[in-house]
């Protein structure tokens, strides 16, 4: 089990109903973590359209969640 903080931005925050939460997870990787979170909050973004970051850097979906880390699912960006 790892304890991680999840941050939500933009429409993901609206859908999750919060901007930050701490969770205990048994997910083997960030892909499984997203599946858990998406099911719990009813998030409708398919993972293929998101990127994921851990502790302020982009990460791979196959990375395991690190204990104490900050994980962010990144919806398509629209800056500029």
């Amino acid at each position: 089990m790892a304890r991680v903080a999840l941050l939500y931005f933009a429409s993901l925050r609206d859908a999750a109903g919060c901007e930050r939460e701490e969770v205990e997870t048994a997910a083997a990787d960030l892909a499984a973590l997203y599946a858990e979170v998406a099911a719990r909050h009813g998030l409708r973004w398919p993972r293929e359209r998101l990127r994921v970051a851990m502790d302020g850097s982009f990460a791979a979906w196959s990375d395991p969640p690190r204990e104490g880390s900050e994980v962010v699912f990144i919806p398509p960006v629209s800056g500029g």
Binding site: R44, P46, R49, V72, I74, P76, S78, G79
Partner: protein, 154 residues
């Protein structure tokens, strides 16, 4: 006037309006003959809808890291003297300045190419999201489709 051997590569977020003049000054180099800049302004319409203003939200830690990576890539790819980009976050009115990119170089090809590279990459990669307000309906977050991505879930 800066050291010609160490090109400037800087990316910043600004939570309030900023002046371009000193940023441009910071790119002036006696050995650089060309300067190209880009500015993104808030338009009064988008996809045919009347825009009343917007809000830019950033995941600041990652935006700064990815922005820095982009300007460093530009410096590595193009023969520039300096590249600098500033992106606004927070509330912006129609006509407000959303993003500025400046690039200086000995020759104009490198200045144009670096400037174009930075704005294209910033728009594609930096975690900043636009929350657009319309004068004819409710606001929405913009999450444009990337190349080859499936349609956005309704």
């Amino acid at each position: 006037m800066g050291d010609p051997s160490t090109p400037l590569a800087r990316f910043e977020l600004a939570d309030a309006p900023f002046d371009i003049a000193p940023l441009r000054e910071g790119l002036l180099r006696d050995e650089a003959g060309a300067y190209a800049s880009f500015e993104g302004w808030i338009r009064n319409h988008n996809d045919g809808r009347p825009v009343g203003g917007l809000y830019y939200e950033a995941y600041a830690a990652l935006a700064l890291e990815e922005g820095r990576r982009i300007v460093e890539e530009a410096v590595a790819r193009f023969a520039v003297a300096g590249v600098h980009c500033v992106h606004r976050v927070g509330e912006l009115p129609v006509g407000g300045l959303a993003v500025w990119v400046g690039a200086s170089a000995a020759h104009r090809d490198a200045a144009f190419d670096a400037c174009r590279y930075v704005i294209d990459q910033v728009k594609a990669r930096v975690p900043i999201w636009k929350h657009e307000r319309y004068t004819d309906g409710p606001p929405q977050w913009l999450h444009p489709d990337g190349p080859g991505s499936p349609p956005q879930p309704s």
